[in-house]
Symmetry: C2
Subunit: 187 residues, 2 copies
């Protein structure tokens, strides 16, 4: 075996993810991916078989990276919300891979849809459980779970959206966002 076996894959996956976010599925050409990864184009096909498989695998791993973003209730709702907001802000807004753009691409390129859904499903569950927990504990209003989750995560997505598309807009003030949310949704 070569020394760099695993590294080659990692570099291809990372380059694929970046280009997918920057340029979209069709804009992430195999030539560009290979160039950014610093390997020959043919290596991409030898290791992943096709562009679709490489990108699907890249999306799957990007989703798995979200595992680190905890959404486990500690008992202190305000602190948990702030931490969650911080954890989600980076991948949505500024992270090199731009989860935001990935999701958009995945919704369009059929080959990626399954990979994204697979990667996101446990995350969605965790967030639902988090809010449901604080509802049962009496800290949040009962009912309307989806609207509530959206009221909390929506502004994070929205801020990323406006920043990416208009290039303007300051970074969201997370403390004030949490405060506004609690004002509207705490029991």
């Amino acid at each position: 075996m070569h020394l760099h076996t695993g590294e080659t894959d990692a570099r291809l996956l990372e380059a694929a993810l970046e280009l997918l976010a920057e340029r979209g599925y069709q804009g992430a050409t195999t030539r560009r991916i290979a160039e950014r990864a610093g390997v020959a184009e043919v290596t991409l096909f030898r290791r992943f078989g096709s562009k679709a498989r490489l990108l699907a695998e890249a999306v799957r791993r990007a989703g798995a990276a979200f595992e680190e973003v905890a959404a486990r209730p500690s008992g202190d709702l305000r602190a948990d919300l702030l931490e969650m907001a911080r954890n989600y802000q980076e991948p949505f807004e500024l992270g090199g891979a731009a989860a935001f753009m990935l999701a958009v691409e995945a919704s369009r390129a059929g080959e990626l849809r399954g990979a994204l859904a697979e990667a996101l499903q446990p995350r969605i569950r965790a967030v639902q459980d988090f809010f449901a927990h604080y509802q049962r504990a009496g800290a949040l209003r009962p009912g309307d779970l989806d609207t509530m989750i959206n009221a909390f995560l929506g502004p994070l997505v929205g801020a990323a959206f406006f920043q990416r598309t208009t290039g303007r807009g300051p970074r969201l003030d997370l403390e004030k966002h949490v405060e506004g949310f609690l004002g509207g949704w705490s029991a």
Copy 2:
């Protein structure tokens, strides 16, 4: 002159917008656009010169369509917010053109960026003025204009985002969204 002169342009612009939202800039090929519009591909080039010009014009008109979405304060904050939410929900979430996807594409395809900025700028101003007005009137908390706007519009974008990307998630309950917002941000 032909009878259908204006109609040809309109159909091309509409088809271009739909495909841009569905498939992205590169996925919106001139063949597909012409086919959906029901005209010959060569007609597209005769009337708009190039794909880039057609799509830029389509985005410009889509932005102009937002003009109808009023953000003029009437004095009744709650009613205004609800109307605004309703007016924004359709283009963001379900409208055929999917403003959401357009904005994503425009942020990537340099040729469209100017057209989108041009179309969006008056809209952004109107929304800022709307919230600033109710701040001065004492109905909304002073300061933090951007965070506040984001708290209101973010969930609308977020709901569209989750619907489009995951295919799931119910439509946002606008009345409860407005109520939650007022709970957090009214003075």
